[in-house]
């Protein structure tokens, strides 16, 4: 007496809906809720209800003829639900053994399982895509790195060439400076030689040239020529490139620069003094140190020419601390403007209107890159102080 209720209870909780169709694929029976999986309710053709069956005539025929036990279309998305569609044989044919008059089409709702599965697949696919993307990016990165390395190599080569050019430019500039100084230093002995030659000529014309005077004057002339020759030797030594680092006496080296420039600075009323410990040796390239000192002296001189005063001084002090030789070059030429002092060693930065901005850049490069030293600047009272640190042992 409760069979109907039991049936209703089972029916309301099951996950299957169905169509029953005949051999002409016409719907002859169906469950109430089956239409929730269909695109239409107004047809009697199963293909209109279930377009998924379209094209499957052979498969349907095989089930009707008993050639296949059933046919399945798994995981079909129907109106935001997921179903497995099964085609089973229905009522057996009375006339033909193992053949069927009807087909039962079952919809199994698998929405819960399919939704979980969809999430898992989604996650897996997204991970795979991410890995593929990382792999592609890595490949691109390798290519970029390779290109970057080539660019860096090319840029380094270009910079080295540029550095060499700048060094050469700086050297030529200093050569011009030195030649000017030599000219300046030669004027006095040349005048002296010229005067002594005139004296000798006059004495000879007056027949008053005796052997003693001749020998005296010739000695004087030879002394002047020797002095001139020494100046040229110093010049040659100054620009003779030494490529290997060596021990050298710092004060002696600086003195050789001062010997070249003293005459010009003296005539411009600039007092250049060298003080400190004369025994200190350093390791480096003495000619390059001399070029740096010459460059600093020239900068001071240029500032003094712009703003002369009655007490123009450049002081060079040589000291040492631990394993470093310290050369301090200070002047009272007004110092470096605060707004550019931090960039004063950068290329093409200059305080001079006609300056190239190369000298200090090259100087720092020579001290730091060629000799593992350090070079920096600070303003002091009324002037600037450049400090150069040089190693005193080869290990440095």
């Amino acid at each position: 007496m409760h069979i109907q209720e039991v049936f209703n209870a089972i029916y309301s909780n099951h996950y299957y809906e169905y169509f029953v169709i005949n051999k002409n694929y016409e719907v002859i029976e169906y469950s109430d809720k089956v239409f929730s999986y269909c695109d239409t309710q107004k047809s009697n053709q199963i293909f209109e209800f279930i377009p998924e069956l379209y094209g499957l005539d052979n498969e349907l025929y095989a089930v009707l003829n008993g050639e296949k036990e059933f046919y399945e279309i798994p995981i079909v998305n129907k109106n935001d639900k997921y179903v497995n569609i099964y085609i089973y044989p229905g009522r057996e044919s009375i006339t033909h053994l193992k053949r069927y008059e009807t087909l039962i089409i079952l919809f199994e709702d698998i929405t819960t399982i399919a939704t979980t599965k969809q999430k898992l697949i989604q996650e897996k696919n997204e991970n795979t895509l991410l890995l593929q993307e990382i792999s592609i990016k890595n490949e691109q990165l390798e290519i970029y790195n390779h290109k970057m390395q080539e660019l860096v190599r090319a840029e380094i080569k270009k910079n080295l060439e540029q550095q060499k050019k700048l060094e050469l430019q700086s050297r030529y500039s200093q050569m011009g400076e030195i030649i000017g100084m030599i000219t300046h230093q030669w004027k006095q002995p040349l005048n002296a030689i010229s005067m002594m030659a005139n004296v000798l000529m006059l004495k000879q014309q007056n027949d008053s040239l005796d052997k003693k005077i001749l020998e005296e004057k010739l000695d004087d002339i030879l002394m002047q020529v020797k002095y001139m020759s020494q100046t040229v030797n110093d010049f040659q030594h100054f620009f003779n490139p030494i490529k290997d680092k060596m021990f050298f006496n710092v004060s002696d080296s600086i003195q050789s620069v001062l010997d070249l420039v003293k005459s010009e600075y003296f005539h411009k009323n600039i007092i250049v003094s060298l003080n400190g410990d004369k025994s200190i040796n350093a390791v480096g390239l003495p000619n390059e140190v001399n070029q740096v000192i010459l460059s600093l002296l020239k900068n001071s001189k240029d500032e003094f020419v712009k703003n002369p005063h009655s007490n123009m001084k450049v002081n060079i002090n040589v000291t040492s601390i631990d394993d470093k030789a310290i050369i301090e070059v200070s002047d009272n030429a007004g110092g470096i403007p605060d707004d550019i002092i931090d960039e004063i060693f950068d290329i093409y930065v200059t305080t001079k209107q006609d300056g190239s901005g190369i000298g200090l850049n090259i100087s720092k490069s020579m001290i730091e890159d060629h000799m593992d030293g350090r070079m920096y600047v600070e303003n002091i009272e009324n002037g600037a102080k450049f400090t150069i640190l040089l190693p005193t042992t080869m290990d440095n």
Partner: protein, 167 residues
């Protein structure tokens, strides 16, 4: 009106669902949602005086570990093989999908699409196109650039296939 079963196959995330959505509803979303199983969409395609109702099967994409379910391909009349022009492996796999189709039926017409054309430079895309055409021995009327995002080539691909189906 004649109905034709058209399947879309290819690797996962090549844009099969997006191509169908662009073709059927003229819509596009950037959000990626993996298809599982299959979903059928319908659209009537006018080929001169003939109306072709396309029953378009959007089939779950294949992965390295899980190939496509060939049950879905039974009874198909035509096929679109989708690849992602930004992912080389999806293009390499096109030949496997062609083999699957031809194993089922030598006569089923198919076209191959290089989808996501909007994501690559034209010059690079052309190079890929030529390489793939040579590798797969395809003619120009079987290989198309598409972009579900911009709509480029989408209608043309479905229409071309529909024409092949009624020849």
């Amino acid at each position: 009106m004649i109905s034709k079963k058209i399947t879309l196959i290819g690797d996962f995330s090549t844009g099969k669902t997006s191509l169908i959505r662009r073709f059927v509803d003229n819509e596009f979303s950037d959000k990626y949602l993996s298809t599982i199983g299959v979903k059928i969409s319908k659209k009537v395609i006018d080929i001169e005086d003939t109306k072709v109702q396309g029953l378009i099967w959007d089939i779950e994409g294949g992965t390295d570990t899980k190939p496509i379910n060939q049950t879905y391909l039974r009874g198909m009349h035509g096929c679109i093989i989708a690849s992602d022009i930004t992912r080389e492996e999806t293009m390499s796999n096109v030949k496997n999908y062609i083999k699957i189709i031809q194993d089922i039926s030598k006569d089923v017409p198919f076209v191959v699409v290089l989808n996501k054309y909007d994501k690559v430079e034209e010059k690079d895309a052309q190079e890929v196109y030529v390489d793939l055409m040579v590798e797969l021995n395809l003619t120009e009327d079987r290989l198309y650039f598409t972009s579900a995002k911009t709509g480029l080539g989408v209608d043309m691909v479905f229409t071309t296939l529909a024409k092949l189906l009624i020849q």
